[in-house]
Symmetry: C2
Subunit: 185 residues, 2 copies
């Protein structure tokens, strides 16, 4: 596919978390069209597993969804912050846990049709509990659920956050593949 050529760009909003711009682009067929682009600094999300193979989930009210959602710990990159430092910070702030090992296992665009956000996905193991220190505007409850319960929770709609589904199923599928080759071949 050929890239679209940006011929004009107008910033229409500058906010606290996001900016919004409208790009005029020339398509491959020569026509012009507009693309509304939400500019986002990027984020991290963390699949954190304890020794009993339980995963940490956080429950918080989401104004955009108008309800509480159950998600993996996650948060937005601060200016100049390294993604792994952000993952360590968000895990600590939201759940109180620190991890002996924090490894990036993937990255993805949650909404590439209109938003620049890229989420780096981390796997955290070797968890140690301390006090949680949520940000001033966050009210967060942490729960632990067996990783093996995740498929049922997703299929029942109890987990309906896209990054959490993508992150948790990535880890599960890796496990399944390993189990599968170990047990079935």
């Amino acid at each position: 596919m050929g890239a679209e050529v940006t011929v004009a760009s107008q910033r229409v909003y500058e906010g606290r978390l996001i900016n919004l711009r409208v790009d005029t682009v020339r398509l491959e067929n020569g026509r012009l069209t507009e693309r509304e682009i939400v500019e986002h600094p990027g984020a991290v999300a963390v699949v954190a597993l304890d020794e009993g193979d339980n995963v940490l989930l956080v429950r918080q009210f989401r104004q955009a969804a108008e309800k509480d959602l159950l998600e993996i710990p996650a948060g937005t990159l601060e200016a100049g912050e390294e993604p792994i430092a952000c993952a360590r910070r968000e895990l600590k702030e939201e759940t109180g846990y620190r991890a002996e090992s924090l490894e990036q296992i993937g990255s993805f665009y949650p909404s590439p049709g209109f938003c620049t956000e890229c989420i780096r996905l981390y796997l955290a193991i070797g968890l140690h509990k301390g006090p949680s220190v949520p940000e001033d505007d966050e009210t967060i409850e942490t729960i632990k659920v067996p990783l093996s319960d995740i498929p049922t929770m997703v299929s029942r709609g109890e987990i309906c956050d896209g990054k959490s589904i993508a992150g948790l199923l990535s880890v599960l599928l890796l496990r399944h593949s390993l189990d599968f080759s170990a047990h079935c071949s």
Copy 2:
């Protein structure tokens, strides 16, 4: 978690695909804060499997990601459109295929931290090929890949669209679970 109470809301942008509003909300602790909310009409995404267990993927340039992405067929609900009609329309427009069976298998919020978008996920089987009819501003290439290749493609970053990872791994995990109980119990 208690809901946040919206005490003021200002629409700062009305666009073609999205609107943007800034809500002032009262938190549980009584403090006021602002939430930037991208209003989105909602969307559908389709995991389409042929008789050989190949999945249809579409490749298109994404201005927000500044590159081509490989995704499952998907698109935004038109005004008053039923989600299943949207799934049928987008599958046809983007790939040319129609499906004998189109079943909703889940739904999720791709970016609930700031966007109202909810994506309904469909499984399409019984595929029949016709001409694709992409929208005027879309340039789309359709490819077929074995469903069994998806985990490798995700882990290599060849698929890095969140809805596609969530949708494809949901279908794969369901398969794995079935295979697992069939072959290993």
